[in-house]
């Protein structure tokens, strides 16, 4: 007789404790976020691309899409310009990037070049869990996100958030029906996941919209560069050091006459009024023999000899006067770091490497859909094509003595691709056209 009230008391206490525990865990949020001081330098003119969201498990694709949509909606009123989703996806597809899991491995600078974006938002859905236990159900969502400046590789914003909500007995329903129905409705209704995602992104992105209002502990203490960018920047620096070492003797000789005190790495780029103006492109593409130092380094002589040797194809004839300076030496292609950015090259190119020679001008093909004497007529056609989603542009041709405004569509690296669109333009848009080199 005395045991029963005791049992009831313990049970009641347990139930109350459980309800309190569940009650306090309702709509719980765990948000860890940090921003960089440079985030507020992204202004209206800067373009930010929100990339497709990576997932960690099966069946999370829909949540990932929802999360991306919420990111777009919430960041729409941020100071920067959001790149349209179809442009982001289209550009990524063109580069064969359809797996969001790979985005983290790519140098953000490369992503910037692919997308024409100043910053990219990379995100991942870590967990989506919906549990149902008859009178209690819960949804838990966990995401991580980071915004990276593509120009410097700096992480501007990084956040991790877990959001959970539940429905059931702990929410003090008025009747048993609500206690039983509410949990199952809650866990099966996709809208609740939508609401949770939307709520989550609202909290998540608040700091991005007002980075100045972030507390001190939510700011990066130092500049954090993404690992992919750090790796490639280091490689670039090494390549440049190598190149600088190779160029060093010539630089020293050149500078010694002007200013013996100056170091080999500080070269004034703009000359004083007493010296001829510095022409960048000319200096790069053509070598003026008058500017050549009087005493050539042994290395320079060696290069000269190597260049004078017959080419593997046998096109160039041996030059008997290889040691005497030729009036003009073909321009040298500047060392491009694109290669190290994409695939680190363990063997830096040498002077005799064909990659150092002047690049062949790359030819492109375009589709000409009309030529007009009046500019406004051409512009009208461009506007019309633009509205239909084609990338049309204007070129001016004065070769025939008269000015002609040519309307051209898209640009392709090969003629076949251009011909494909040309056919489409003719059949769908009824636009007679032809493919022409650009």
């Amino acid at each position: 007789m005395r045991r029963r009230p005791r049992f009831l008391e313990v049970t009641a206490r347990g139930a109350v404790l459980l309800m309190i525990a569940l009650g306090f865990s309702a709509c719980s949020t765990n948000l860890q976020t940090k921003v960089s001081g440079n985030l507020n330098r992204l202004s209206e003119g800067q373009i930010v691309a929100i990339l497709p969201v990576d997932t960690m498990g099966k069946g999370q694709k829909e949540t990932a899409e929802l999360f991306r949509q919420s990111l777009y909606a919430n960041l729409n009123d941020s100071p920067f310009h959001l790149m349209d989703r179809y442009l982001v996806d289209g550009a990524l597809k063109q580069h064969g990037l359809t797996d969001p899991g790979k985005f983290y491995e790519i140098n953000p600078m490369k992503l910037g070049e692919m997308l024409g974006a100043d910053a990219v938002v990379l995100s991942r859905v870590n967990k989506v869990e919906r549990s149902y236990f008859v009178i209690h159900s819960s949804i838990e969502l966990s995401v991580s996100v980071q915004m990276v400046d593509t120009r410097s590789g700096e992480i501007l914003w990084r956040a991790e958030q877990t959001e959970s909500d539940f429905e059931g007995i702990a929410k003090i329903p008025t009747g048993i029906a609500a206690a039983v129905i509410a949990p199952i409705q809650f866990v099966t209704n996709k809208l609740n996941l939508n609401k949770l995602t939307s709520k989550m992104v609202g909290k998540l992105t608040a700091i991005v919209k007002l980075p100045d209002s972030a507390d001190q502990d939510k700011k990066f203490e130092t500049t954090v560069i993404s690992s992919a960018a750090t790796r490639d920047l280091k490689e670039m620096e090494e390549v440049q050091k190598l190149q600088a070492q190779m160029d060093a003797p010539a630089v020293l000789t050149q500078e010694a006459a002007a200013d013996p005190a100056s170091g080999p790495v500080t070269v004034p780029l703009v000359r004083g009024p007493d010296t001829p103006p510095f022409k960048v492109r000319k200096a790069r593409l053509e070598f003026d023999p008058e500017e050549r130092p009087a005493v050539e380094s042994a290395r320079a002589q060696r290069i000269r000899t190597v260049r004078a040797l017959p080419a593997p194809g046998g096109a160039a004839e041996p030059n008997p006067g290889a040691v005497t300076p030729a009036p003009r030496v073909p321009a040298r292609k500047p060392v491009t770091a694109l290669k190290p950015l994409l695939q680190p090259d363990p063997h830096p190119p040498r002077e005799s490497d064909p990659r150092w020679k002047n690049p062949e001008p790359q030819s492109f093909f375009t589709i000409q859909v009309g030529a007009y004497r009046v500019r406004s007529s051409a512009e009208r056609v461009i506007r019309s094509l633009d509205r239909k989603g084609y990338h049309a542009f204007l070129t001016e041709d004065t070769s025939g003595g008269q000015i002609l405004f040519k309307v051209r569509v898209e640009k392709f690296k090969n003629r076949d691709q251009a011909a494909e669109l040309a056919l489409r333009l003719e059949t769908r848009e009824k636009l007679p056209n032809f493919v022409t080199p650009l």
Binding site: D77, R85, G90, Y132, A244, T395
Partner: protein, 332 residues
Amino acid sequence: MVIFPNVSIAVGNRGEVPCFLRWVLLAMLVVGANGCGVAHVKVYEYLEEGKSFPRTVAILPFTVDESIPPEKRPNVIFRQVFYNYFRYLGYTDMPLGDVDRRLIHFNLGPEEIARLSPEELKTVLDVDAVVEGHVVDASNFTGGIHAETSIHARLNMVNLTTGKAMWEVDHTEMNYLGIAVPTVVTMIKGQMDNLEMGQAYYKVAETFAMKVVRDIPDPARFREERVALPMITRIETNLHPNRVLALGDEIEVSLHGEPGLAASFDIGSWKTGIPMREVSPGVYEGNYRIGKGDRIENALVIGTLKNGRGIAGKKFFKAALANVGADDPVAK
């Protein structure tokens, strides 16, 4: 037992659905059959490959029923939220500010807009389609243990080329907080939140927009195939590896690409949007003179070409990094 992906359900030892759970599922189906919370978007014009469809869209100012008190009208918030979500679709959306500026420029209020023909509207806004919205009813009520916020609205999108509606929806969205649902803490919080009318309307509008946008035909998949960013074929600078620039030096940049576009260059993220001039068709030049206090460490020079629609193409100059001021006492 798996009913939905990622949903684990506690079942009996033999893996059978308990009897009472069958009743629960039945009850759920009955409740679900009410259509509670579903926005029925009626689509009249589906998008098809090869068929012309609107690219540019303007969301007109949403009108509101006169019966709603002026202080409780959610049309401005609703329009903004709907725009935020609609932007996710593959249309090119005219910014709301631009839409309003054009309408003001032509002195067009809601009544005048309603009288305009599709052709006239197309001329005024220079878009292929418009989204019209009318808030039929809205409420924001907080009563201690019961609070609700609702928006009842009709939206439709008109193809201005054909003059016909592409889709329309008539939907009521409600956010309810009462004694029957939340914990005591949530209930009090909910009541307090609901007092913030703007925020409450914002939340309801978000749910409304999410539901509607999900069912609107999306041209993104057709447009993805034709994406062409402005092309830059070459970028050159006067930078040399491992050279530190000093006060008064100039970084000169030249860019080769599509003609007739707006060009600029950045020095890392330190100096951005330095304008460039088109010196001959497709060749752009610009420079930056190192000033007092300028310090740059290992920054890349990046050229940008932007077209009239704000779409940009970028190319990085990777042959040399820009370093300024590290060894220059004046710059320090």
